[in-house]
């Protein structure tokens, strides 16, 4: 049975909103997804029923927080098909997860980190920063249609490559890298693999045991979860070997004035008082997504993207491959030299169509291609065909005005 979009939409209160007499057409899901009432209720429940400290307080409210956090960790373990809950570290977003690995992994002078040519700044700057230690950051050029080039990747792989840190699904054009193949090639060369899963986790089924990637970082706010939440997945034996990153309260068993005895996994990486409401809400978001067949989500998004591509694909310059099936739920484009912000704001002003414009934190790719940025419409499970038709119709009007 396919995705029942009408039923899904009932769970999202913001979709019932009307601004200036018109409904919202939310197509900015690659930046931030909306939240279902179930997640909102979990957060409300924390603040109204047990807004206490976790991992410290022995009273009833504190214990209830611990239960909520651990239940959330358990849900995320299942969500990712991880081996155990020690592999689930709560962070505040993808960026923090990647920084944690970049700052804790034992990388030395001459080691090479390999990324793609369209990495988000969050999966590029932490590695570039290591150049002060002599660690080199190199990129694999994409194919002319912007899809991942496995040949270029193979050419780049050598014994110096210690980590392949790559985006799984690009936030810029929606293309997905063949991660299973990448992991295999990387392993053959003895390199570790870190996946930037910020854009893939909301849309694709990720089975970390099968994928065999060593690390995966993603954010809660892109998968129906609260803002300020994220997860770093890592294989247990690798996490054990990692040095500490942020340290402080919650990361230690005991301290003296000269040394500290650190906690076991995963607490040794979760410093300071945690975002308990967010973590519990994130667990609920994962739970919500687990009840929905991800294959149906992917199919739904591709169908809508195909319709948009048919509708305006010939009028605008699409970023990435022309085939909608290769771009997940992302339709990123430019119209001649018109400023992408202007198009985005006119769509918003005319029909409450929310899209993103700019460089989408992939400035490096846009600079290489001498572009200011793009307009990006990104689809998710609650978007409808009618919304896509509205987007097509309005975009045509905008283009008529600016051409």
């Amino acid at each position: 049975m396919g995705l029942d979009v009408d039923k899904v939409r009932e769970d999202f209160p913001v979709l019932q909103r009307v601004i200036n007499g018109k409904p919202i057409v939310y197509l900015d899901n690659a930046c931030m997804t909306l939240r279902p009432i179930q997640v909102i209720e979990k957060i409300r429940e924390y603040y109204t029923e047990y807004p206490a400290c976790g991992e410290r307080s022995m009273h009833k409210l504190g214990r209830k927080v611990d239960e909520g956090v651990e239940r959330s960790r358990e849900t995320l373990k299942k969500f990712l098909n991880a081996r155990n809950t020690k592999e689930i570290i709560f962070t505040k977003n993808t960026t923090e997860g990647i920084n944690l690995v970049a700052n804790s992994l034992d990388l030395k002078n001459g080691d090479v980190i390999l990324g793609t040519d369209k990495e988000h700044n969050s999966n590029m700057l932490p590695w570039q920063k290591l150049s002060s230690r002599g660690v080199k950051y190199e990129i694999v050029r994409s194919n002319p249609d912007n899809t991942f080039s496995i040949e270029n990747f193979k050419e780049k792989m050598n014994k110096d490559v210690k980590l392949v840190a790559m985006v799984h699904t690009s936030n810029m054009d929606g293309t997905t890298t063949p991660m299973k193949e990448i992991v295999k090639i990387a392993k053959d060369h003895g390199a570790l693999v870190l996946m930037d899963g910020a854009q893939s986790i909301p849309h694709h089924e990720l089975n970390m045991k099968k994928l065999d990637a060593d690390f995966l970082a993603f954010s809660g706010h892109k998968m129906l979860g609260p803002s300020g939440t994220g997860v770093l997945y890592g294989k247990e034996h690798l996490l054990e070997k990692l040095g500490t990153f942020l340290v402080g309260g919650g990361t230690v068993v005991d301290t003296t004035h000269s040394e500290a005895k650190f906690e076991e996994l995963p607490q040794k990486f979760e410093a300071g008082l945690q975002n308990y409401a967010g973590i519990i809400g994130l667990g609920e978001a994962a739970s919500y997504l687990m009840k929905i067949d991800k294959e149906n989500v992917e199919k739904h998004e591709t169908e809508l993207n195909k319709r948009i591509t048919e509708g305006v694909g010939d009028v605008v310059d699409i970023i990435g491959p022309r085939e909608a099936g290769k771009r997940s739920g992302i339709f990123s484009f430019n119209y001649k030299k018109v400023d992408p912000h202007e198009i985005a704001m006119m769509l918003d002003e005319m029909e409450n169509i929310c899209v993103r414009s700019g460089a989408h934190c992939v400035h490096s790719w846009f600079n290489t291609h001498n572009l200011k940025g793009s307009v990006r419409a990104s689809i998710y499970l609650y978007n409808t065909l009618e919304e896509c038709e509205k987007f097509i119709e309005t975009l045509k009007k905008v283009i008529d005005a600016v051409k």
């Binding site: 912000h341 006119m346 918003d348 002003e349 009007k397 600016v402």
Partner: protein, 308 residues
């Protein structure tokens, strides 16, 4: 160019509401950068352009399209209009400060800055019927209440109505004039009760003369304006009692309409020369209709004093 307009508009709105201050700051930054021959980096110009054209596109696509294509030229036009308006406003405020009205030495037009909305018609109470030109000057009679020496260089005659709000509005300025010029001027008050449009005006005027015969005209005059609109017999008698007047005499004076003919005479005389509303001031032979600022009166009085 749109940033200049935004700076002025949101700068003014920002005085009243904090939510506009961020945009005003952005607009200032944008204008400053342009003035220093740098590119505006805030994106405010594009944002405003898209939002404004988007709003029009929603209902009038052709107009939206036109706006988008000629946005810079339209912004220039509005900026020029804005600068001219601002310049004119500054000039008017300057006039207000120097001459007491927006229009320079000759206060013959509407002035928005004038607290009394001076000039034109509408700042005075008028009689029913057509309004004509005032031809001539009122004559001062020995029984008219007055302040100041009879041989003063400047005589100001006010034709007023105790029930007219504009006459009341002029009271503080009249007091300021009397206080400022002292014996240099003579001030005379004459009745122009417009009973058809202002009920009770005739009774109040007659009552003021009943107080005058007991030597408390100006006190009663002030009380009538302070309690404007209270003109029934009990009210008028009550004011007399409050001023320690002989209430028996006052009551008889009122009920017998002792001063009716005098009040009627004042009205007829003024009406005959074309007075149509109150307050009307005669500063020697110059006529001023409606309440004005002290500075406006001062301009005329000083010129009359100088003329000698």
């Amino acid at each position: 160019m749109i940033c200049i307009i935004a700076l002025v508009v949101f700068g003014i709105l920002g005085i009243f509401s904090a939510k506009y201050r961020t945009i005003a700051k952005e607009a200032f930054d944008c204008v400053f950068r342009r003035l220093t021959l740098r590119k505006c980096t805030t994106g405010l110009d594009k944002r405003l352009k898209s939002q404004i054209t988007g709003k029009f596109m929603r209902k009038r696509p052709k107009l939206g399209k036109f706006l988008y294509r000629h946005f810079e030229a339209i912004s220039w036009a509005f900026t020029i209009v804005l600068i001219v308006s601002l310049g004119y406003s500054i000039y008017s405020v300057g006039n207000l400060f120097i001459y007491g009205n927006c229009n320079g030495p000759i206060p013959d037009a509407f002035c928005v800055f004038d607290p009394f909305i001076s000039g034109g018609h509408g700042g005075e109470c008028t009689i029913e019927g057509p309004v004509g030109e005032i031809m001539g000057v009122l004559e001062v009679h020995p029984h008219d209440p007055s302040v100041g020496p009879e041989d003063a260089k400047v005589t100001i005659i006010e034709a007023g109505c105790f029930v007219c709000p504009y006459t009341k509005q002029a009271v503080p300025v009249v007091k300021q004039i009397i206080s400022h010029y002292g014996d240099s001027i003579r001030f005379v008050y004459k009745d122009f009760p417009m009973s058809s449009t202002h009920p009770g005006a005739q009774e109040a005027a007659e009552a003021s003369h009943c107080a005058h015969e007991q030597g408390k005209y100006w006190e009663y005059h002030d009380v009538l304006f302070e309690n404007q609109g209270k003109t029934n017999f009990e009210d008028l008698l009550g004011f007399a009692k409050d001023l320690d007047l002989n209430t028996t005499q006052f009551s008889e004076c009122l009920t017998s309409h002792k001063y009716k003919s005098q009040v009627d005479g004042d009205f007829a005389e003024a009406f005959a020369i074309g007075v149509y509303g109150t307050p009307t001031f005669f500063i020697n032979d110059q006529v001023v209709v409606g309440p004005k600022t002290f500075n406006e009166f001062k301009q005329i009085i000083d010129s009359e004093l100088a003329r000698g």
